[in-house]
Symmetry: C2
Subunit: 224 residues, 2 copies
DNA sequence: AAAGTGTATATTGTATACAGAATACAATAT
DNA sequence: ATATTGTATTCTGTATACAATATACACTTT
């Protein structure tokens, strides 16, 4: 933990939430590395708060699968083996499959338009080579589909799964040569959704997820 | 919160874990009702601990979807509308479908035997009319299948979903006339698993879950 | 050297104190 | 009567103090 974590002091949120968001982002960006210990006093000092909100934020990170705590030993950033990632991806595939099929029935015209707009923005970000926008629009693309399911619990679950994958996937998105395929895959998904063709949309999504899976697993394999 | 919650003082677990288990069980058994406020001081006094472990336990209950907290207002036992339950069941159906298909490939001979033994125990418990055993063996039946997936993250997710359903389903299990169908459904699942017939096993599980779904939704509808 | 023991230190676990926000309710004004 | 304000009270949010445990490391023993 070499970097200066800094709180984004949003006056009216409980500190635990602010701390949670801060630590979460640090983990996702890789500033806090897998296996790194999350020591309460240290974090409290660094963030200028007491241990109480730190502890509560850590409990929340556990929820998300981003931290693991061993009683009387403390918490650390969750490590992920290739097997762990395979497990997560297996679940994500099943739920994304569900999401996209439900979305097929329920997606509104307005959501479809947002989806296309997001896809366009994604392409523009790719052309501009703006990594943070690329990531943001990729996330938004999938979020629109998730929201179209009209199942908030599913949205939360999928966001959570994606989060666990993304902290490795960011590496992948740095490689420009991967963008064209992503764009094609997204377009295929949108086309299938427009046609409300469940089989096609499920195939397209499965293909998209599996391609991600390969890449992410390679990254983990390299790290290990 | 009229009943006396009592801690099961397991010397070496952090109090937050003991409190968590205690509150969790109280919610699942219905001793703490949906919508009931979880007030820190009150709970702390009742359980004979300070607010700190109570607060952390509440954060953990949030994880499980059993509590909801509103900043500066406090926590309450999560309410569930029929729509919420439909959302949960939709997810559970997808994941149980995944679980049972993976189990088809991976289940070991020993696990199959445990499954049959559990089914037998379930039937005996039904004959004896022992509700707590009926519930326990029903849970175990599904747990064996979950574990056969060799995907611990999936096991946790499914246990969590089941938990959200079970606190309503307990009502249903009190009605003896429902048992014969449960037994038949379980048998069908085991048969299909033995044959490693993925389609049949998926159909059987889907049927089992959907029947549950109807019952649970009726119970909620009555409550509302 | 290797294994074990003792002690200092670091870290988590728990209780408590205090500050600030939400709530309930009475008093007042409209 | 209804709405509004003020105030007491209850509750959460946060910091901090103290206790219990784990860890590291020097020291002893074999």
């Amino acid at each position: 933990m070499s970097e200066d974590l800094k709180l984004n002091m949003n006056a009216y949120l409980p500190l635990r939430d602010v701390v949670f968001q801060t630590l979460r982002e640090a983990i996702l960006k890789g500033d806090l590395r897998p296996g790194e210990r999350l020591m309460e006093l240290q974090l409290a000092a660094k963030l200028g708060v007491s241990r109480t909100p730190i502890r509560e934020a850590i409990r929340m990170l556990e929820q998300e699968g981003l931290a693991v705590t061993i009683p009387r030993k403390g918490a650390e950033v969750a490590r992920m083996t290739e097997k762990d990632m395979e497990d997560v991806l297996q679940i994500r595939e099943a739920l994304d499959d569900l999401a996209v099929q439900v979305a097929c029935d329920k997606i509104t015209q307005e959501q479809l338009e947002r989806l296309m707009a997001t896809m366009k923005n994604f392409e523009l970000a790719v052309q501009a080579g703006d990594l943070s926008k690329i990531v943001a629009y990729d996330v938004e693309f999938h979020d629109v589909i998730y929201e179209a399911t009209d199942n908030p619990k599913l949205v939360i679950l999928l966001s959570n799964l994606r989060e666990q994958i993304y902290r490795y996937r960011v590496e992948y998105l740095k490689e420009k040569e991967n963008y064209p395929m992503l764009i094609v895959e997204h377009e295929e998904i949108v086309q299938a959704l427009k046609q409300k063709n469940k089989e096609r949309v499920a195939d397209a999504m499965r293909n998209h997820i599996r391609n991600q899976a390969e890449v992410v697993k390679n990254i983990i394999r390299e790290q290990e």
